[in-house]
Amino acid sequence: MAYRGCRRRSYRSYSYSRSSYYAPISQSVVLRQKASNEAMKFVRQAFFSLDYARLERYFSQYGREHGSSSASYARKTYPSWKCGAVGMSGQTATRILKIVPGILSRQDQLKLLEIYIPLLQQSLAEKFRESLGNKVIPALELNIFYQKAEALAKQVSLPVDWFVKGVFTDEELAHFQEIIRFLLIQRLDRSFKNVVSDLIELHNACRGKPLQIELNYRISALGAQVELETAQGVQNLTYTPSYEIDQSKVTEDIRGMLLRHVADSLIQDEANQRLASGMQNIALNELATTLGSIERANNPNAEAQSTLRIEAKGGTAVLEINKISIASLRQSISAARLKQTVLVIVAVCVAILIFNLLDSKKGGLVILTLFVGLPIGGSLWYSWKGEAESKQKQIDSYELAQRKVFAKK
């Protein structure tokens, strides 16, 4: 609804400093703010749609809390607020709307709570990612990590605003929070199974390939990275969530609302799971195509590098695939060793020459040869030695990476 009439401009001065530090806003805070804004909008609309009886109840309640003069001002200004001729400032709006949730019908109160629940759920999921997202987990400690995430889900607070605090009892709020945690832990369970499935499938797809493959896998639900050289042993990991809900004392209307939310949430999760399974199949196909393409590059002196990013079932995998020309490297090593041998032969010949020159008293030439020849010979020797060693190291790490399936980062 647009505001008409005089819009009061409040003069605020902003000072922007180019060197000031910008701290990114946490996504979970953003989601909680969004929940508050949506709830505020709902309460505001409900306020302006109150029937006569509820409106009278509202003004009586308002009078009891803020005095009769404030109540009569509110009663007089209500039509102007409703049509938008007069705006409500922040503090006034909060004071006026605070009483509204308690006046609403039970159905509307539940609708208000339903605005909160999905956003609180997302906010909690984001909190996971913020707390756990910069961790790097060894693949064989996945189950321990998920247990820690579950412990976090059980402890983290789920603050609700004044919109719902005064309307529902502490027990009812505890029921809602239990459901949110329960659903989140179910998602953890599903995420664990998906991640294990991804790691095993990626391992099987890359095993035995004559390539150096580096894998960077990030879990979608938690944001954390998994480190692995091989997925051997991952299939034996188990994680069983231990969060039960047993809410025997729930009122009928709350029960209906919770069941509706649970059914909706689980059905969404099932659809997402079907999508995730489909994505995994497509991703593995793309990986096989890429590996096949690189192997097909059959020029013996050709090297190929590829970076492949795929969305699998439980997370995102980035694979760095390298094909190096072992034949070229071995040739380079042989050439370096040969150059070192030639250098030795030349050094011996020069030594014989110097010995002959010493007899003929050409001392100057001898000294010059030694001062110039030794440093040059020495640096060439070490340079070729280093070249051969580094190329041998490259071959060794390439062959090790193939044996382990994934290269160490």
Binding site: K193, R309, C349
Partner: protein, 129 residues
């Protein structure tokens, strides 16, 4: 190596108001909901399933196209038997993207080295005589 069997969690029951629900079958929860809610959830479920199918079909098409492009890229690389071209390509796949680059490594010719050895030995022979 095979994927672990999906054992159903022993804790997948939800107890609300004295009634227990198996949550491994979400659609079974619908039987206790009022008809209006049931209809809405079923319609949402059908719409979401259709969305999933459509999305997967699009991704498969994109994936196939990327596969053809990668094949022709590698064919061009293989045709370059002289090793004069250093090629690179980027392809959008169904689930992400792929970057491939190839380069040819110049290896030291053994013949060159042997020629150098021969020349040095000849030089030394001349100097010492």
């Amino acid at each position: 190596m095979s994927s672990p069997n999906e054992k159903s969690s022993q804790k997948n029951e939800l107890s609300l108001g004295g009634q227990r629900f198996q949550i491994t079958d979400p659609l079974s929860l619908l039987s206790v909901l009022p008809e209006e809610d049931r209809k809405k959830i079923v319609v949402d479920y059908a719409a979401k399933s259709l969305d999933v199918e459509t999305e997967l079909k699009q991704k498969i098409q994109k994936s196939q196209l990327a596969g053809f492009e990668m094949d022709s890229f590698i064919d061009r690389t293989n045709q370059d038997s002289q090793g004069k071209l250093n090629l690179s390509g980027e392809f959008e796949t169904g689930t992400g993207k792929v970057k491939i680059s190839t380069r040819t490594v110049q290896s030291t010719s053994i013949v060159t080295v042997l020629v150098i050895i021969g020349a040095i030995l000849v030089l030394i022979a001349i100097v010492t005589h």
